[in-house]
Symmetry: C2
Subunit: 228 residues, 2 copies
C-alpha cells in the first residue's frame, strides 16, 4: 500500500480529464484511473486514456465495459450522425450528443471502486462553462451527487463520506489548458473529438473540437493533437 491517499479519477482520454488527472496527481494523490467502453462511437478515446494513465504512472487503470447502446437515443452511442459546424449550443438546448445519465452512471461506478479500494476522493473533469447544455455537468448536479454518495456506501455510514472533486467546474477551457501545460500535460496525447477517424485524428468541426480549437487559439498555441 502507498502512503499517499488514493483518489479515483474518471479518465475519458479527453483534454479535461487529462488535466483533472494531472491536478489530482499534483495534489499528492495516488491514482486509480477509471474509463468506460460504453458503446461510444469515439472509442478510440480509450487509447488516449491508456496513454495518459501510463504517462502519469497510475497505480491501476480500469476500463469497464458498459453497454449504454441498449438505451440508444444519443448521437455518441446511436447510429445517427454527430452534428457538425453548428453554432455552440445555447443554454436552452441540450445537444443530441448528450448521453442519458452518463455522468451519474460513471460516478456510481467510481463510488463503488472508491469504496472497495478505500479511496475517499473521486475526481471528475466536468465543466459547467463549456458543458454545451449537459444537465449532469452543472454545479448543482455535482453537489447533489456528493450528498447522495455520502449516504450510499459503508464509508459514509462510518463517517468518512467520499468527496467528489470537480476542479474544472468553473474554469474556462483556456484556463484548463494553461493549468494543464504548467503541470506538464501533453495535449498531443489526448483525444476530445466526437468523431475521430480510425487512426484517432480529430475532425476539427464537431462541438468538442471547435471548443477545444478556440481555447488553444486563446492560449496562443497550436493544438498539438492530430487533426485530419
Amino acid at each position: 500500500m502507498s502512503a499517499k491517499p488514493t483518489a479515483v479519477v474518471l479518465l475519458s482520454g479527453g483534454l479535461d480529464s487529462a488535466t483533472c488527472l494531472a491536478l489530482a496527481q499534483s495534489e499528492g494523490f495516488d491514482l486509480l484511473a477509471l474509463s468506460f467502453r460504453y458503446g461510444q462511437r469515439h472509442e478510440i478515446e480509450l487509447d488516449a486514456a491508456r496513454r495518459l494513465a501510463g504517462d502519469a504512472g497510475v497505480r491501476e487503470h480500469l476500463v469497464i465495459e458498459i453497454n449504454l447502446r441498449v438505451f440508444g437515443e444519443s448521437a455518441l452511442t446511436d447510429d445517427f450522425d454527430v452534428p457538425k459546424n453548428r453554432c455552440a449550443t445555447n443554454d436552452d438546448e441540450i445537444p443530441i450528443t448528450y448521453v442519458p445519465a452518463r455522468n451519474t452512471i460513471f460516478l456510481s461506478y467510481a463510488l463503488a471502486l472508491a469504496e472497495v479500494r478505500g479511496a475517499a476522493d473521486i475526481f471528475i473533469g466536468v465543466n459547467a462553462l463549456d458543458y454545451s447544455g449537459y444537465p449532469d455537468c452543472r454545479p448543482e448536479y455535482v453537489a447533489a451527487f456528493q450528498k447522495m454518495a455520502a449516504l450510499a456506501t459503508r464509508a459514509g455510514v462510518s463517517g468518512n463520506p467520499p468527496t467528489i472533486h470537480a476542479p474544472l467546474l468553473h474554469w474556462s477551457k483556456e484556463r484548463i489548458i494553461r493549468r494543464g501545460l504548467e503541470l506538464g500535460v501533453d495535449y498531443a496525447r489526448t483525444s476530445s473529438c466526437y468523431d475521430p477517424d480510425a487512426s484517432g485524428r480529430a475532425c476539427g468541426c464537431c462541438d468538442s473540437c471547435r471548443i477545444r480549437l478556440a481555447a488553444f487559439e486563446q492560449v496562443g498555441i497550436a493544438d498539438p493533437a492530430p487533426y485530419r
Copy 2:
C-alpha cells in the same frame, strides 16, 4: 404507445421486487422491468425475474450485463462463502453480502432508461426495516438519490424530474407479503436466496432466506418457494 404512464421497475426476482412490480401495476403504470446480471453468485434469480416479468405482462424487460466482479469485495460477487446461520445483522454492522454502491448503480441505469423511454417514474423495492444494514436501503439515501436524479437528466431540466418510488421502504416483510398476496403475487415464482442450488432451490439458512421464512410464518402460511 400505451395511454398509461410508464414506470421503470427494478426487478431482481426476489420477494420485494416482485411485490413492487405488482404495486406499480396496481397503480396503473405500464411496466418496463429492469434487471442486472452483475456477476452475482445467485444469478438464477434472473430466471425468477423473467418469470415475474412474463406473468405481469410487462411491455419490456431489459437484462443489463454489468460486471461488478471487477471490484470484488462482496460475498454476493466474490469467491468467498455466504454467511450461514448467523443472527440477523444489527444496525451497527454492514453484512459482507453488501455490494458496493449497488443500488446507486442500478438506479443510475434506471434513470437512463426512464429518460430514453419517457418514463417519469422509477420503482425500487428497497426496504429499510429488513435491510440488514445496507446503507443504500435507507430512506435518507433514497431521498438524496431523488434530489440528484432531478438534476441529472433532460427531464429534470425541463421541469419534469423523475420520481423514485420506494413503496416498501417502511413496510415489514410480513406487510409486504400480505399486500403482495392481495395483489395476486405468486411467491412460488420468486427467488430470494443468496445461495440457491443449480435448480433454484433456496438454502433456507442465509440471511435473506431466514428473514423471508420468518415473515411467512408471521403471515401464517408456508413459503411456496422451493427449498432444498
